[in-house]
Every structure is written in C-alpha cells, then in structure tokens.
C-alpha cells in the first residue's frame, strides 16, 4: 500500500453546540478514488469544508504528505494541491466563464493556460465570454471541475457533483471523473448518490450522524447488507 497522501485524524467540528463531525478519521492514498457517502446531514460536506480550511476544527489533525496542515489557511491548502469543487459548484455567476477559469489558476504563477480545459470541455470555449450564471447546471459543473483542474490539484475533492443534475448529465460527469482519475488524479468524492459513488470509487467510507460507521473497498461495501439496506434500496 502507498503511503497516505491525506490523513484525517479524529476530526471534530461543531456548529455552536451542535457537533457535526464527531472524531472522523480517514485516509486517501495517491491514485485512489475514495468516496465519502451517507445521508443528507451526515457531516460529509462539513468534513470537506474542514479539509479545505473553511471551518475551524474543535480538535483533530489534517496531515498532508506527512505534514500537519491543520493550521494552514485555505489558500495555502490550494497552493499545496488540496483543491475542492464545492457543493452547489460555487461558480462565480457575475464573472465570465473565462474569468472563472483564470481564477482557477490564481495560485499558479504566470498566465493561465486554458487550452487543455477547452479541449476537455469544448462547450466552455464556446461560452468563454458569457456570464457563468447563464450556464446550465451540467455546464456549470464542467466549469467547476475545469476551474479546479487549473489549480493543479494533487487531490481533487468533489462535494455532491451530481446534485441537481439530470441523470444523463450525471452519467457524463461521472465519466469525466473516471477519465481524470485514469490520467492519475487522486479524488475524494462526497456523494449522496451512493450507488454511483461506490461504482466509481476504489475505497469508501460511510458516514452517519457525524461519524464514520463503515469503511473498506467500494466493491465490498456495495454488497454489504447494511449499505444495501440503508442506501441502495435493498
């Protein structure tokens, strides 16, 4: 087994008096797709936000390539390669598609090279000068992924990439993720669509009410009676 790229150790996060994440520990290894699945309100998105440094931890550690980055600011984490496509896509709607993409490369020196992104997502080139708020949901998701790729991530975190999208578009988005992964990208995927996520992932963790209750190979979890009963309509 490879050395872990990312380790979360006993992460605790609270919103006021409500503990949203209760001692979550997980690992992501280079080249893996790891899925974090569970019902709405399980603490998955909060875990990702904490990973990006947008929420303060009550306790716990975030270790990135054997370095404790718990106190790093969000922009230090992005510069270090921890890049997130947030829930709801976090598109800057009043900026153009091109401006959104250029900002994706904010932490990179020099002019952003948008060509590879336009080759992967030709629709973004066609709409480069349009306001991003005018894109469809699927196009916005492509923009969010393309923008994240411009940050040169070494771990791409995606929060609910299928949310609010039609099934055909979801299929396309998952195909894009598979392709990006095949090119060597490590992915941490938070997803309510448990079946899709487990089909794509190498390993997965199941979260319930702020805690990881199950973890293992995605192939095993997809057949686990507890997962089947709770999430796959078994």
């Amino acid at each position: 087994m490879n050395k872990a790229l990312l380790q979360l150790e006993q992460l605790r996060v609270s919103y006021g008096h409500v503990e949203a994440v209760k001692g979550v520990s997980l690992e992501v290894h280079p080249g893996e797709i790891v899925a974090l699945v569970g019902a709405n309100g399980a603490g998955k998105s909060t875990t990702l936000l904490a990973l990006s440094g947008l929420i303060r931890l009550v306790s716990g550690r975030v270790v990135w390539e054997n370095q404790d980055i718990t106190r790093w600011s969000p922009h230090q984490r992005v510069s270090g390669g921890l890049v997130q496509v947030a829930e709801g896509r976090a598109i800057l709607k009043t900026l153009t598609v091109r401006e959104n993409l250029e900002l994706g490369a904010y932490t990179q020196p020099g002019q952003a090279d948008l060509k590879p992104i336009y080759e992967r997502f030709p629709i973004l080139k066609q709409r480069a000068s349009q306001l991003a708020g005018n894109l469809s949901g699927g196009e916005q998701q492509m923009l969010a992924i393309g923008r994240a790729l411009l940050s040169q991530p070494r771990l791409l975190m995606l929060d609910e990439p299928s949310m609010g999208l039609a099934p055909l578009i979801v299929r396309d988005i998952f195909a894009i993720l598979r392709e990006i992964h095949q090119q060597g990208m490590t992915i941490l995927l938070v997803e309510q669509n448990v079946r899709q996520a487990l089909k794509l992932a190498d390993r997965a963790y199941v979260m319930e009410t702020g805690s990881v209750t199950l973890g293992g190979r995605a192939q095993d979890l997809i057949n686990d009676p507890r997962v089947v009963a709770a999430y796959l309509g078994g």
Partner: protein, 293 residues
C-alpha cells in the same frame, strides 16, 4: 455661465465620486458599511495639511504620503475592528456601530489636537493661475483636483475590470467562500481593500480641503451622508454606480446653488435621493445588497 457651472459640478462631483468609490468598495467586497470613512476623509486632509505646514513638504510629496497614511488608518480599522467582527460572524449592524465609534474617536482626536477652528493650506497655492478653454475659466488648482480624482477613479475601475487582482476582488465580492476555495487569500485582500478604500477616502478629504481651503474635525460627517447618498443612488456595492452617484450629487448641488439658493443645496440632493429610492430602490445599477456566504 452654464458651461462654467458644468465644470464646477464635474469638479465637485468627481471628488464626491472618489469618496463614494472607496465607500462602496468596502461594502461590495467586505460586505460592511464602514461609517468611519468620513473620519478617514477628515484625517487625510489633516495629514496633508500637517505635512505641508509643520514639515514644510511640497504638496507633491504631502499628497501621496497623506494617501498612504489614510490607507494605513483604514487598514488599522480593518485589523483591529472589522477582522475581529468577521471572525465572530457578527451581524451587519455590529461593524456599522463599531465604525461609528471609530469615526467619533477620530473626530474627537482631531478636535483635541487641532481645535475646532478651520485650518487652511498656505494661501500662495490659491493664486489666480487659470486654464482657459474657450469661454470657460478653470482655476489651475480646480483642474488639478478634478484630474486627480478622475484619474484615480479610472485607474481603480481598470484594476477591477482588467487585472487578476480585480478578478479576485470581484470573486470575493460575490462569494468569499468560493474565492477562498480557489486559493484567493481572502483575508489579505480584505486588508488591501480597506487600505485602498481609505486611501481614496483620504485623498477625497485632501482634495475637498484644497478645494474649499477649510479643514475641520467635523468635515467628515456631511461627506459621509453624501457618500451614503451616492452609493445608494448608484446601487450599493457597484463601483460604476458610486462614481455616477457622486457625479450626480455634485451636479445637483452646484445647480441648486446656482439656480436656487445654497440653503436648498442639501435639501435638493437628498430630496432627489428620496425620489430615486421610491422609483428604483436598488439604485441605478441595481446591485444586490446580499451575497452568498
């Protein structure tokens, strides 16, 4: 006569616009109404006056130095007050109240140090040198004030529209959280915005001080009202709106004084603001007053 008044109106309006530009930048990017902006305006004027009269510096050195000083005051307010409120997730009223406190502190300090009497720049600057454009006569000082205000506004709008920094600031204005996820150092740019906005506000103070040649500890308060009026007229948080709102106020005031009476100056400006709010509550450019987290 009319052409001359138009020149006067643009001159006054451009300084109002400069003040409003700083004011709206803070609202648009930090999401707070910084009511200490009038105090910074006043301190900028005093800083330039001090550098000229006490340290015998030329205006060309005093002006940029006072701009930087004003910027540093804005930065200090951000670091000491606004940042702490941001970190605690304080509701919108809190920064307003806190910055009122900062403005009162600045006014009291200025009153204690300089007294309540108006202070003036050396009279030799206010000589009779003029520019003649056809039938219009523009005092050189007025031309300089207007040019500087317009240049700073155009420069600021260019930065916001055309540069990487401007893109990042617009991203923060829309959503600080989304900006942070892109690796934009949001907190650092909040500080920079506070610095730039205060430098613009302080510059407006210097220019008004030069324009009317009277600097008092209380000059910030009426300017603050005009700044609020200008950004509401233009649309809260919208840079173009602030500039147009400032110019509009300047034009209204000059024409009120010319064709009515100076007593009606503020009544007319704020009466028009009231009508504007009835007709278009979101202002000329209709920028939303809310943003995502």
């Amino acid at each position: 006569m009319l052409a001359q008044q138009i020149v006067n109106a643009i001159s006054l309006g451009s300084v109002y616009a400069l003040f409003a530009l700083g004011f709206t930048l803070v609202f648009g990017i930090l999401g707070v109404i910084n009511l200490s902006h009038g105090g910074i305006f006043m301190l900028g004027a005093y800083a330039a006056l001090l550098l000229v009269t006490w340290f015998d510096l030329s205006l060309w050195i005093a002006l940029p130095a006072a701009m930087v000083f004003s910027g540093l005051v804005g930065l200090l307010i951000d670091v000491l007050i606004l940042k702490r409120l941001r970190q605690r997730g304080a509701p919108h009223l809190m920064p307003m109240i806190a910055t009122i406190g900062a403005a009162i502190l600045m006014t009291s300090l200025a009153q204690g140090v300089f007294g309540s009497e108006a202070r003036r720049f050396p009279m030799e600057w206010f000589n009779d040198e003029t520019l003649k454009l056809g039938t219009i006569t523009i005092p050189l000082l007025q031309a300089g004030i207007t040019s500087l205000a317009l240049v700073l506004m155009v420069l600021m709008m260019w930065v916001l529209k055309r540069t990487r920094l401007g893109q990042a600031l617009r991203a923060i204005a829309e959503s600080p959280r989304s900006a942070a996820l892109l690796g934009i150092p949001v907190e650092r740019l909040f500080h920079l915005t506070s610095f730039i906005a205060a430098a613009l506000g302080g510059t407006a103070g210097i220019l008004i001080g030069l324009s009317f040649n009277a600097i008092t500890p209380f000059m910030g308060q009426p300017m603050l009202h005009k700044g609020i009026a200008a950004i509401i007229l233009g649309g809260l948080g919208d840079v173009r709106g602030a500039v147009l709102g400032g110019l509009f106020l300047g034009i209204t005031e000059v024409f009120a004084v010319t064709f009515l009476s100076s007593e009606y100056r503020d009544a007319l400006s704020f009466g028009l603001l009231f009508l504007m709010l009835l007709w278009r509550p979101q202002g000329l450019f209709g920028a939303s007053a809310t943003r995502s987290a």
